[in-house]
């Protein structure tokens, strides 16, 4: 009996640590989406599809052009950043004055476009990078090295964004616009330019997430659906536009999925996470860290 408990606890601990590692990437995704929402007040339903395109970018750069992983990653980040700016310029900018729900639906249309573009251009086969990273063994627990790397890179990415937002003029302007979008235009800040920069920044975060996720998952046109909805739920749970809330919610969600998956199938982990989300929405509709009205 005692030995059984010991083994059980090891598994539990392993699941919890894996949950934290998963949380890092989810937090990175949530940060990008929150940035877009907080500044431009638009939800990119197609955010996970940008990540998917980035994963394909990594796949082709590494597999076809033979670039090394560390050379391909910055290129992918640039590519997705450009894609983010393009998305803003083509779709969001004409709709800035439209009802929010139209903006939401338009990015839903972009989701269809990106998914089917990937289907047409790359086919529906599952592809992987072919990079096998070792599994780390520590005190009878197994962690994949790629997850550790993702976690670390996600943290670094978030710190870089934090420094950018607090130490540079553009970052300060972005934060100011998030607080009051009318006044900043009067203060001589070019809102259009800031929006474009923010979109590119959000895209860059999606690109970074793509570089990390491609290490753990196979790429296929519908891969976005496996983490896209989770990302939205995390952002809403944390309060749309609330960076810290999104960060906390990402780890909460990752733990629920990881622990739920330990006790049963992975799908039940997701079901639990979704159910938790709905319950939390009723308890704290404004997000985890919001003050109650």
């Amino acid at each position: 009996m005692g030995s059984f408990l010991e083994i059980f606890d090891i598994y539990l601990l392993e699941a919890m640590v894996n949950g934290i590692l998963l949380g890092g990437v989810l937090a990175l995704l949530a940060l990008g989406l929150n940035l877009i929402f907080g500044v431009i007040d638009v939800t990119w339903i197609c955010y996970a599809e940008l990540v998917m395109i980035g994963m394909y970018g990594m796949y082709y750069l590494v597999q076809y052009y033979g670039l090394s992983y560390y050379l391909a990653a910055p290129l992918t980040i640039l590519l997705v950043a450009a894609l983010g700016a393009l998305l803003h310029w083509l779709v969001i900018a004409p709709l800035l004055g439209a009802p929010p729900i139209n903006q939401l639906l338009a990015t839903g249309g972009v989701l269809f476009v990106l998914q089917s573009f990937a289907t047409v251009a790359f086919g529906i086969d599952f592809r992987n990078l072919g990079i096998r990273l070792p599994v780390l063994q520590f005190a009878d627990m197994h962690f994949s090295y790629s997850r550790l790397l993702s976690f670390g890179a996600a943290l670094v990415g978030m710190v870089v964004i934090y420094l950018f937002m607090t130490r540079t003029y553009t970052g300060t302007a972005i934060r100011a616009i998030a607080q009051d979008r009318q006044i900043m235009a009067l203060m001589g800040v070019d809102t259009k330019k800031i929006y474009l920069v923010t979109s590119a920044l959000g895209g860059a975060l999606a690109g970074l997430a793509a570089c990390l996720l491609v290490l753990q998952y196979d790429v296929h046109p519908f891969v976005g659906l496996s983490f896209g909805p989770i990302t939205f739920l995390i952002c809403v749970l944390g309060g749309l536009g609330n960076f810290v809330g999104g960060f906390v919610a990402a780890f909460l969600f990752a733990e629920i999925i990881s622990l739920g998956g330990l006790f049963s199938d992975l799908e039940w982990g997701y079901v639990l996470a979704f159910a938790f989300f709905i319950v939390m929405m009723f308890i704290r509709p404004g997000g985890l860290l919001a003050r109650r009205q």
Binding site: L95, N102, G109, F112, Q115, S116, F274
Partner: protein, 324 residues
């Protein structure tokens, strides 16, 4: 006067022609397309009942999945006839709608937040169907057992004509419900709510109750559409009747057709299904993905340039003094 009389007569003539159609024209493939168009039109109409009042739900894939799967599971595992199973499935979907929507409306979760909460709902339904694969077949799909007894009792018909008439009838009822809501006081209440909830509440509108009513009606209709689709196709999979993709598909078709007019969702269904079929015939298996590519581009273009949809914009062009 003659114009009014004309407008009163037209629906009857069109209705009679639609009923007579399968007896004159019997091509099974075209009838099949028509049945699909009618069933999906009904589903899209039920979405637009809510959507036109600014309640953008992305959870309707979930209601449709409940309608289809509950009916099929009751039939296969417990032998419950669809005649009883479909109402049970509808009640299940209605209850689900109540459970999710009541707190949403009570705590004033609107706009983005409402869309994302309901998105979670369709995600949950999809995951539960996939997770309970021992009963539902998971992502491989599910087939209701062929009946050994009466076709009528099991609601399984082999000929397309019967299905066409059933789908036509249900579609007609859907339009009648739309009209009934359109002419009721609830419509004004809901329009007031969609403009400004506080002002509507101050004017004596029971905001939560009105929103709940339309949500439950919409969910019941969507579940019926799911059950009908299941009975007609005799095969359902989580991806075709539930999940986020189906929810977005509904939104897309309605936006293209026209969200504020009764026949808008029907026009949307005609366009989307004809487009998918046309591309499938034109390109064969190479067309995988092309239809969604065209859909997506159209959706974006429509929202930017023609937010009232094809039919809505046409009607506006014809009579500039219309209400909206």
């Amino acid at each position: 006067m003659s114009l009014v009389a004309f407008r009163q007569v037209v629906p009857w003539i069109v209705g009679a022609m639609l009923i007579a159609l399968p007896f004159v024209y019997r091509d099974p493939y075209h009838l099949h397309i028509l049945v699909l168009i009618l069933i999906w039109s009904f589903a899209y109409t039920s979405w637009s009942m809510m959507g036109r009042f600014g309640l953008v739900s992305l959870g309707h894939g979930g209601f449709m999945g409940v309608g289809a799967y509950v009916t099929a599971l009751l039939w296969n595992h417990l032998g419950v006839l669809p005649w009883i199973g479909i109402p049970i499935a509808m009640v299940c979907a209605g209850a689900l709608a109540l459970i999710v929507a009541y707190p949403c409306f009570r705590f004033r979760i609107t706009g983005h937040y409402f869309a994302l909460v309901t998105l979670a709902l369709s995600g949950i339904v999809l995951q539960i169907i996939t997770a309970t694969r021992d009963y539902t077949g998971g992502s491989l799909g599910y087939t209701p057992d062929r009946t050994k007894g009466s076709h009528l009792a099991a609601l399984q018909f082999d000929d397309k004509t019967t299905w066409y008439l059933i789908a036509l009838g249900v579609w007609g009822v859907g339009l009648l419900i739309w009209r009934w809501v359109d002419r009721s006081m609830d419509r004004y209440a809901l329009e007031a709510i969609s403009e400004d909830e506080d002002a509507a509440a101050a004017a004596g509108v029971n905001v939560t109750f009105e929103k709940l009513k339309i949500t439950v009606i919409s969910a019941l209709m969507t579940a019926l559409a799911g059950a009908l689709y299941c009975q007609y196709q005799m095969f359902i999979s989580p991806d075709t009747v539930s999940g986020i993709a189906v929810s977005l598909q509904m939104v897309f078709a309605v936006v293209v057709g026209g969200i504020y007019v009764a026949l808008g969702p029907t026009v949307g269904a005609i366009i989307t299904i004809m487009l998918a079929e046309g591309l499938r015939i034109g390109f064969g298996t190479k067309a995988v993905g092309y239809d969604n590519l065209v859909y997506g581009v159209l959706l974006v273009v429509f929202i930017i340039f023609l937010p009232k949809g094809i039919l809505g914009s046409l009607l506006e062009r014809i009579k500039p003094s219309s209400k909206r």
